[in-house]
Symmetry: C2
Subunit: 365 residues, 2 copies
């Protein structure tokens, strides 16, 4: 099997799985400190362990809705044009409750259009809520600039770091809220987290008692929490591997694909992007046919959809020709990806493209 679909989910690492059945419960304070250190949060910042990244995002939006929209009339929210479902659906509910959501478009480089973002901010804007890195393209947003702008304009900034954590250094400094999903970080499903900067509003989303300082009702799922801290510990240890070895494998993958399939076109190579993601167009090979064929060869990759945006729509919005956009496939490596897997991936892709080309020649000849 070739698994280059680590956008969708990652396999839990051994130390995370071990925690699920361990009778040994380490100090929860020390374990929490691992998470704080991971993003450089300060002691006065607050952390909530949630059951998913989606829940964490809902909690941020809900807090800002209750504290700023309802109490102060700051009911405008800004998000980007290509976010996953937790972001878009949670903001859609706020719209139903009377808020206004403004969408900032992407540039041709796959980043948020900073000029448009600045224009969209009004005195009623409560929150900018965006992903740190876009999952399918791996393109990283200019978060420092956005944070500076948000601060100037007195707007809160929430960054979902689900795709970035464990791939690039992700400092919490300058942000107001940071959320993430554990299952994209080699932890178990049923784990996620939320950091809120000291002094920023933070309310429970799931109500039901004083667990986690009253910030989340329901009993703490200690094994899943410990699985998350174990996974974060591993991610810290492997951050260099990610930026050296995984980036090398990704480059090898891109070079190999272009060598074997001369028509292939790698996108976003000049952008600031995650070390583990690659988007490649295979002209004349429709992405859905491609994905189907790859799946039959036990090779998993992604073209978006489900809770993600459609990759083709994202690329068209970034100025790519429609026909080409519909041949793009996104590949996402993990630290468990091997060179043998990459070489097999190149060979399988080359076969698949040849098969599809032969098929289309049959159809049109």
């Amino acid at each position: 099997m070739v698994y280059l679909d680590n956008h969708t989910t990652t396999s839990p690492c051994g130390p995370a799985l071990d925690r699920l059945r361990s009778e040994n419960v380490p100090s929860l304070d020390n374990q929490t400190q691992i998470l704080y250190d991971f993003v450089g949060a300060e002691i006065a910042d607050r952390f909530v362990f949630t059951s998913s990244g989606a829940e964490a995002i809902n909690q941020v939006h809900w807090t800002v809705f209750l504290e700023l929209a309802r109490k102060e009339g700051k009911c405008h929210f800004i998000t980007s044009a290509f976010e996953d479902a937790p972001m878009t659906q949670s903001l859609k509910r706020l719209e139903e409750l009377g808020c206004f959501v403004k969408i900032v478009p992407f540039t041709r480089e796959g980043q948020i259009d900073f000029v448009r973002l600045a224009e969209l901010i009004s005195p009623r804007t409560a929150l900018i809520s965006i992903s740190l890195a876009q999952g399918l393209t791996g393109v990283v947003q200019p978060v420092e600039e956005i944070a500076k702008l948000a601060k100037e304009k007195n707007v809160l900034l929430h960054v979902d770091a689900t795709y970035a954590l464990g791939k690039i250094a992700t400092p919490f400094h300058g942000l107001d809220y940071l959320t993430f999903a554990g299952d994209r970080l080699h932890s178990v499903k049923g784990s996620g987290g939320l950091f809120a900067k000291a002094g920023r509003p933070l309310l429970p989303f799931i109500l039901g008692g004083e667990e986690q300082g009253g910030l989340r009702g329901g009993s703490l799922d200690t094994p899943s929490f410990l699985a998350l801290t174990a996974a974060v510990n591993q991610a810290t240890l492997f951050l260099d591997t990610m930026n050296l070895e995984v980036a090398r494998l990704r480059d090898r993958f891109e070079e190999g694909v272009v060598r074997e399939i001369p028509t292939a076109k790698v996108l976003f190579q000049d952008a600031l992007r995650l070390p583990n993601v690659s988007v490649i167009c295979f002209p004349r090979a429709h992405q859905e046919a491609m994905l189907f064929l790859l799946q039959r060869k036990n090779f998993l990759a992604s073209i978006g959809g489900s809770y993600m945006p459609q990759l083709s729509r994202l690329l068209m919005a970034s100025g790519l020709d429609e026909q080409l956009a519909q041949t793009a496939v996104s590949f996402s490596l993990s630290r468990y990806t091997t060179q043998a897997e990459i070489d097999k991936a190149i060979a399988l892709l080359s076969d698949a493209v040849r098969q599809l080309y032969a098929l289309s020649q049959d159809l049109f000849s």
Copy 2:
């Protein structure tokens, strides 16, 4: 250790723990069917797997708020005077959003005052939201009567069955919503559930994609879900044990305590109550001193508090004298409770009471 604090949490059973690390994933449909069968839900009824009982309760309240309070102006909610924090806090938030919450008192028998309940219902009442069995006293509510009343008055009925499931047969028939926590049913923490009768409104609470038919965003925590179904399977198998063997041990416990401590007074013995719960007053031994002393002897029981109501307040509201109410302790057995544990519990209680009596004699002599 003597563990008679199964109100607070239960130890996960072996089959539930096994599921956490099993590579074997059984058919999710078949596993879901186990849950449906457990409460006699019909195929058209809907089930949502949640991260806790608290989340499930929040989802029911939130659904009714959005669908009935906001859309139809039915913004009155009724709950009982002695509910756990998920119920009370979630309804309190609805109050902040403009709803009205009415509280139905308890009778001397520890049940909801049915006459008052009927009086509290108005044409604007959207939902009656109560626990099927009160956790600390084990007293079971007259749910069939309440369901009949709710139906007559066109009010939705939500029952939290957290304390009842696995202890008594809990039919979903006649109810609109049923919620429960997995960790009180020998499943793992991080598991809970919600049933909604076919045709009743049901909205996602955590938004973020089309998982679980769009009823809960975030990826399904399959291991925890399978742990829950394994635990429910066990609970089904052991339902007779609960009503025969556990009830016998509970009775042995009560008889033994009264024999060894002649001043002790068992409450709610004539009420319809769960087979595993016992509330006993130890006149002149304050419940907090008692609990502290027991804890030092490695014997865990409960007097409420934290996310539960205070046992003493509940008993006073049921007409018990204040001084006596403050000497009450609640004990909750599980199917893992042994006769040796019960006999040890009786001996430890007898020692503790003697110690406290000696102490108070020293103080007052």
